[in-house]
């Protein structure tokens, strides 16, 4: 075995330039795929983290009959005395923050234009509101007892040509099925770096939102962030009997569907790109078989079995694979480490169904590296099959008499 590898190593060394280029081709392929994988993983991870931070939390507690597709404000569908419940949940050791939120549907009217928005009543002081507080780009943040101000996303303000201090008309649905309107002053603009969210969400202090939606002392959900994401199921189980509890996984089902879909496409890409690198390896090995026709003849004449001759070529391709993959993993990791640090600007894609940030940070997982390494290795070995078979089926006598 070791002897085979020794021979393979020497054979590769005989034409260093060719060996180097073959490895380089494989390395480019691996690096490209690794970068793509880390890009997709980063996109998905970013989207999930944004969703947890902004939209779903780790857990949501709701009234048993609440249906999130309808944004109902009927009192039966809401949580009564949410402050007490939130305080009780927040007292649990695993919980980082628990805060009541009220969801309503609204229309912002400004000048000639109007646009549909989601109106969210939040507790401005809660730790769970940090993304909005920290994301303030101009104007002032909300205060708990503000009765005439709201917080608007930077993207939406840009589209409606509004600035802090401007007055808008806000139409909001109410618990009795009607619509109410009131004018509000824009206190400030926030940005979460997720244009799809910023252009469709407006914040009011919870008490004001309850007043305009006629849902006093009620909230749609208790929004819960945990200290450790892995404890989600345990906490959900502890809260479950009394209320409808949803975990971030249930609340982001679309995202995981999208991820599966993206991964399926990734595997097709893996196969195609590695298939193309395989052709480079096949050609290299085929050439090396024909250069060494005489040698193979000698080896066979000396009693080397076809199987061992094949094994020699497999050894050669596995050495190529190891070298190429190693270079590729290093190249790919460097590239994705750079983008992980500085991000990749994709701008606004009009995606509102899932929260894709305007800047994507790659995320390289060990899992991707291992999967890709194994796949690249197997495909490169398979690439040796044809050249090895060509070598093994040579007739020793004829091979000995061949030109070189």
């Amino acid at each position: 075995m070791i002897q085979l590898y020794k021979m393979a190593w020497r054979d590769l060394g005989r034409n260093r330039r060719r060996t180097f280029f073959s490895m380089l081709a494989l390395a480019f392929g691996v690096a490209l795929l690794l970068f793509m994988a880390s890009f997709v993983a980063g996109e998905m991870r970013g989207a999930l983290q944004s969703a947890i931070k902004l939209q779903s939390g780790h857990l949501q507690v709701r009234a048993a009959s609440y249906n999130e597709d309808k944004t109902s404000l009927k009192w039966e569908d809401l949580i009564e005395n949410p402050d007490a419940l939130a305080a009780q949940i927040a007292a649990r050791p695993e919980v980082q923050a628990a805060t009541p939120r009220l969801y309503a549907t609204g229309i912002v009217v400004a000048g000639d234009t109007s646009t549909g928005v989601r109106v969210i009543g939040i507790d401005p002081a809660s730790a769970a509101s940090a993304p909005f507080r920290d994301g303030m780009v101009s104007g002032d943040y909300l205060t708990t007892d503000d009765r005439g101000g709201l917080l608007m996303g930077k993207t939406l303000a840009g589209k409606l040509k509004l600035a802090p201090g401007d007055t808008i008309n806000l139409l909001v649905n109410t618990s009795n099925g009607d619509v109410d309107q009131q004018s509000f002053v824009i206190r400030g603009l926030y940005s979460t770096g997720t244009p799809g969210y910023d252009e469709s969400t407006i914040f009011l202090p919870l008490a004001k939102a309850q007043a305009i939606a006629r849902a006093e002392k009620h909230a749609s959900v208790i929004f819960i962030l945990l200290k450790d994401q892995d404890q989600t199921d345990a906490v959900a189980a502890a809260l479950a009997p009394a209320y409808q509890v949803k975990t971030y996984i249930q609340l982001n089902a679309l995202l995981s569907e999208w991820e599966q879909f993206a991964n399926a496409y990734m595997y097709i890409f893996y196969l195609i790109v590695l298939g193309i690198t395989a052709t480079v390896i096949i050609n290299t090995l085929v050439m090396s078989v024909f250069e060494r026709t005489r040698e193979i003849g000698i080896l066979a004449a000396m009693g080397m079995k076809g199987g061992r001759i094949m094994a020699m070529f497999f050894a050669e391709s596995s050495l190529l694979a190891v070298g190429g993959i190693a270079i590729g993993v290093v190249l790919g990791s460097l590239l994705s480490a750079y983008v992980q640090r500085y991000g990749f600007f994709i701008g606004e894609m009009g995606i509102t169904g899932i929260l894709i940030g305007e800047r994507i940070y790659t995320y390289l997982t060990l899992n991707d590296i291992v999967t890709l390494t194994i796949m690249a290795f197997v495909i490169t070995l398979l690439a040796a099959l044809y050249p090895a078979w060509l070598a093994a089926k040579m007739e020793p006598v004829e091979a000995l008499h061949s030109g070189k």
Partner: protein, 409 residues
Amino acid sequence: MRLYLRLAWRNLWRHRRRTVIVAVAIGGTLALMMWYDGLVSGFNEAIYGNAIRVLGGNIQIHAAGYGAEVEQLPLLPLANDQALVQAAQAQPQVQAAARRINTGGMATTREGAFGVTIVGVEPDQELPVSLVAQKVSAGRYLAADDQDMVYIGHGLATAMGVGIGDRFTLAGRDTHQQMRSRTMTVVGIYDLGMPDIEKRNIYITLSEAQSLYGLEGQVTEIAISLKQVGEEPAVMNALRPSLAGAEIVSWQTSFPELEQALATKGGAMNVFSVIMMVIVGIGILNLLLMAIYERTREIGILGALGLKPHQISILFVLEGVLMGVVGVAVGVALGLLINGVLGQVGLDYSQFSNITSYMALISGRVYPTWGVEKLPQRTLTVLVITTLAALYPACEAAQREPAEALHYV
């Protein structure tokens, strides 16, 4: 030159196996690109095709300034709407020209609230051309003299839990920024098989929209339906003189986010294809380097016969280019095959219909086109990279000393 071509072509096929493998690699790369291009234009066709049939009209005319705020559906009245309708109807390619009011609103019941787009329509004009008007699944379409009647989608009816004869509150705003809400009765329900579109668009009569939203006798849009897709530019040009400042657009320019998304993805795909071609290029480089060693003696003979070094290098560059050409041929064949099959079968994207507003227009399957839209560019990329890959071996070949090369065994 023809002699070089002949020589290069012969050299190319001296090692059939190698050439075929390289051609397959080039072909595979090109086929992948064609598949992607086909999918993108399939997407475009599905979205724009449905936009015309569902949202109505190949061409829209709006007041000046509307386009900049198109997502917010501004209530900007068109100044000379009657004259424009007549001008449009005078065009032979035009099937119908319908006046409309589009505005954002909210449909609410005690069960919940839904943001909607309210479209005020002239039922008589819309009925022959609008798919929405034809796909009645319960009740009936609007009639010109309906009062407080609303025509909604199956998706919205299900979500709100309302049926024919049920009532809900429809809130909107008028031109003075004041809220206008009215209790409406569901007169009909349409079913397009596109739940997200059905949830979003609801229809009332134009006269009702005019009185509700403070636009007496005015409209915000003229939607022009053509007899055939593809005649948009001609009709748009014919209508330009009568516009008097109004904006005219076709659907191709109506989804700015779609353009942006496609541009970003397309850019990434271009980089991707170049890297893949570089990998293939390395294969070609390797192959030609080998060929030089094999043909050392030949090169010596050519040199001895009086071929200049640069002439020898032309021979090798040509060989690389020809390899690219063969690869392109293989790729086109493979690409057409893949897209031909997928064009029949289609790809299912329906589960992602609510990710973006334009995705909602995809009614189930997307059928890729042949993917030849960008073929010239793709071919050029392949040829440039194969040529570059051949340059280094070609220089190497040219540097051989004829006398030494001749003595090489």
